[in-house]
Structures are given as structure tokens and as C-alpha cells.
């Protein structure tokens, strides 16, 4: 990796810190080694028996919201077993922030401000991002398109039909994401089907949809945010459901994060988001592979 990329990476991380400090967010550090992650259908934690490495800091960060903290952020390492490709490393760097005074719309506004701030602070000569030859200007007007709208528009099929037939990932990655890559501005894909809600709140007026979004730049998925579910019964039901899917796919069931579930009903209405820092550096550097923006890849160790 080129030393310029390490400098760019360091600048970006510093500018992220500046951004949240200036806005009064508390920078927190939560343990990386935890007894249980949120069980998800398709994410395997790396085991450090009897515990696990975190796949995301979200559970501990939400517990801090339960304790009364209103605005918090964290830059930390996360681990996900067997994820390796041009855009994936098994150990990667995640930025997460939570606000106890808003929903996913506030997070989308944060994303706009953050990406403009980072571009101005770190890409002074040309404050734009790029991916696969496409330029993405954070100062142009950002696009918002719902998942269902995107599926109908670009693939001529309904997202529910794709989910039912097991084609969701295929259509999303081969048709939708390349189309999103053509926009010269960042794109929010919003309002995911409730089946893909994970830990998000459903829309009060449309319970078939979740208040969840993903941010794309140049077709590269950069962040995933949502209005947080704070109903422990519903959350437990979804974790159990995820474990059923895991077992059906030949994976092992994962232990439930009981302390988190105990405290979840006390969590104020809140919203939280995870953003891949390595991918943000990729976009700033115009890198094709995540290998270009880290000091060491797994294979180099």
C-alpha cells in the first residue's frame, strides 16, 4: 500500500472525529470482546470462546443510550468470519453513531454533512469521491429512492417477489447497485421490506416497511442506518427468527444478548448508523480494492 493512502486514511479518521466533536457527540469506546452479538441470518462472528469478537459495536452503544447518553460515536474494529473480497476484509474499521433525538431522516442529514466535511477537509484540491471511474460529488443534490421503487424501476420486478424467490441479493448486486453507480451524487436506498428490518423500527403507517436505509456512492455500499427498534419482545422474536434461518442454512444458532434485551425497553426513541471507514477511504482515494487503503491485509500477516 502506498504511503499516501495511509496519510489519507489518517486524515479522514481525524476529520470524522473533528466532525462529531464539533457537534457535541461523545466519543466512546466499548469492549471488542463480548458474550453475544445480535444474531443475524448471514453474519458469522469470529469466536473467542466462550465469547465473540464484535461484528458491530451496536449493542453496547445502545446500552449507553439506555443510560441516558444522547449523542455518541465510536470508531472501532469489527470482525466477520469468512468475508473477504475487493470490498471486504474479515477485520475492518467501522464508524457508528447514535442519536437519541431523531429518526433515520436525521441520520441521512448527518451523512450529507459528514461526507461534505470529510471531502472539504481531506480532498481540498478536488472535494469529490470516485469509484470505478465514476465521480460522486457530495455537494450536488443527494438522491433518495425506496428499495421497492428501485427494484421496479431497474429490474422490473417487485422486491417482495425477489425475496420470495431467493433472488434479492442477485438482483440487488447485479442490477440495482450498478444502476445506483451511475448517479453523480450519493444515493440513499430507503424503506427496506420488514423482512430485512434487522434491528430497525417498522414504519408506523406502513408496517410492511422498515425505517432503514443504505447509503451508496458510485454503487458502493457505504453505510447502513435505521430508526432503532426499542421493543424487546419484538427484538427477541426477530433474533429467534434469525437463528431459525441460520439453522436452516446449516449454521449454528447464536446466543442471545440477554443484557441488551433486558435494557432495550428503556431505550429512548433513537436512530443509529454504521459506516465502513475503509470504504470511505476507498472512495476518497478512488481505490478499486480495500487492500489499497489498509496497512495490512489478512494475507500479509
Amino acid at each position: 500500500m502506498h504511503s499516501d493512502a495511509l496519510w489519507l486514511r489518517a486524515h479522514i479518521i481525524k476529520s470524522i472525529r473533528d466532525f462529531f466533536w464539533m457537534r457535541g457527540f461523545l466519543e466512546v469506546e466499548t469492549p471488542l470482546l463480548i458474550p453475544a452479538n445480535a444474531p443475524e441470518e448471514y453474519i458469522d462472528p469470529i469466536l473467542a470462546l466462550p465469547w465473540q469478537l464484535q461484528t458491530s459495536p451496536e449493542l453496547c452503544m445502545k446500552r449507553l443510550l439506555c443510560r441516558g447518553h444522547k449523542h455518541i460515536f465510536q470508531i472501532s474494529h469489527c470482525w466477520r468470519a469468512d468475508e473477504r473480497g475487493l470490498r471486504h476484509l474479515s477485520e475492518f474499521t467501522m464508524l457508528e453513531w447514535y442519536r437519541a433525538d431523531g429518526d433515520y431522516n436525521n441520520l441521512m442529514a448527518d451523512c450529507e454533512d459528514l461526507l461534505k466535511h470529510v471531502a472539504t477537509a481531506c480532498l481540498a484540491n478536488s472535494p469529490v469521491y470516485s469509484h470505478k471511474g465514476f465521480i460522486i460529488d457530495p455537494f450536488s443534490s443527494w438522491i433518495k429512492i425506496s428499495v421497492q421503487e428501485a427494484f421496479l424501476k431497474y429490474s422490473n420486478t417487485s422486491v417482495w417477489e425477489c425475496l420470495e424467490k431467493g433472488l434479492y441479493e442477485d438482483v440487488l448486486t447485479t442490477i440495482i447497485e450498478p444502476e445506483l453507480g451511475r448517479y453523480p451524487s450519493p444515493v440513499f436506498l430507503t424503506d427496506y421490506p420488514a423482512e430485512l428490518a434487522a434491528l430497525s423500527r417498522l414504519k408506523p403507517d406502513h408496517p410492511e416497511l422498515a425505517e432503514r436505509f443504505e447509503l451508496y456512492l458510485g454503487g458502493l455500499e457505504l453505510a447502513n442506518g435505521f430508526s432503532e427498534l426499542n421493543d424487546s419482545l419484538e427484538q427477541r422474536r426477530r433474533f429467534d427468527e434469525a437463528n431459525v434461518v441460520r439453522i436452516n442454512f446449516g449454521r449454528s444458532a447464536l446466543p442471545l444478548p440477554e443484557r441488551f434485551l433486558d435494557e432495550l425497553d428503556r431505550m429512548p426513541p433513537a436512530a443509529g448508523i454504521a459506516l465502513g471507514v475503509d470504504r470511505l477511504v476507498m472512495l476518497a482515494a478512488g481505490a478499486v480494492s480495500i487492500d489499497e487503503v489498509v496497512a495490512f491485509t489478512t494475507e500479509q500477516l
Binding site: E40, E41, Y42, D82, E83, R84, G85, L86, R87, H88, Y168, E169, D170, L172, T173, E177, L196, A198, E214, E221, N224, F249, G250, R251
Partner: protein, 187 residues
Amino acid sequence: MYTVADLKKGLKITLDGDPYLVVAFDFVKPGKGQALYRTKMRNMINGTLLDRTYRSGETFDSANLEEREMEYLYKEGTHYTFMDQANYEQVVMEEETLGDAKNFLLENLKVDVMMFGEKPIGVSLPNFVNLRVTEAEQWAKGDTSGNDTKPATVETGYVLRVPPFIEEGELIVIDTRNGEYSTRVKG
């Protein structure tokens, strides 16, 4: 046995009974979704390219490939017979499978045969072979354009371009990698 986690460029696997070489690979995983393992593979027997997408939990058989030193014996119709130098076992290969290699096979030539299980799927030849010219036009002595070439046929029936001074009955060296004339064997 391989799992999707083993997929990478250069991996050789068995698919629908044929050996395949993975020539391109990408891991994609949309947020909260299933991981997809996209591969492009080349059939090692007929060279066709194939795109396949796999998901977590899928497994593959490795391709049981082995190179064995053999001697070319004879040809019958479109069947070429080789003999394993170690155990004297004979294998038969189709002309189609041999491809261009058939142009350079002279009896008793030592070659490496790539075996897929019990099935021969290709040969590696020595880089250079000596073959006798069986047919070539006479060199017009007055011709001064020294860079010209003329067609010549060698004992395997292969036709190639040779320098004008090569005559019938001469032994020439052919580069099997491109099928071109290399030099003349003086003798």
C-alpha cells in the same frame, strides 16, 4: 472437498463431471443479505467459459489432476494412443482433445499427459521437436528475396512456412508453442 471459502483464482474444481479452472472470482455481500461468490471458470477439457454464482454452505470436489510421463505410440483414425512410462498402461486420446499438439506427435515422442482421474485431457509437448520435411517446393536459385518463405509439409502432415532453402528430406526444428519453423538440423 472445497467450500466457498476456498474459492480463488487458480483453484481447480470438478463440476458436472468436468475439471474447471477458476479464472476470476469476486465476493459480494449486500448489507444484511446473503454472501454471493461469483466465479468465472474455464472448462479444462473444451476451454469454454462459465459464470457461476455460489452461496455460503455450497461445496465442490477438487479436480483430481495429475501429469504423467508417457510415450506416443500410434494413431488409428482419430484416436491417439499413448503409453505410461511407469506402468505401461495405455491411454487413448481423441484428436479433438489434443488440439494443435497432434501436429507434432511423432512415434516414440515423450510427452506429459494431463490426466483427470482416468481420463486424459491434454498433453504438454517439449518446446521444440525435430520433424522431417516430406514435401517442399524447389528453391528457385535466382530468387534473391531472402526473406520469403514457402510452404512445407512435415512427416506428421503438418504444413508450415519455412525458408526457401529448406528441401525435401531435411530435418527441421519446430517451436511447438507457436507452431513455427525455428531452425534447420544440420547433418
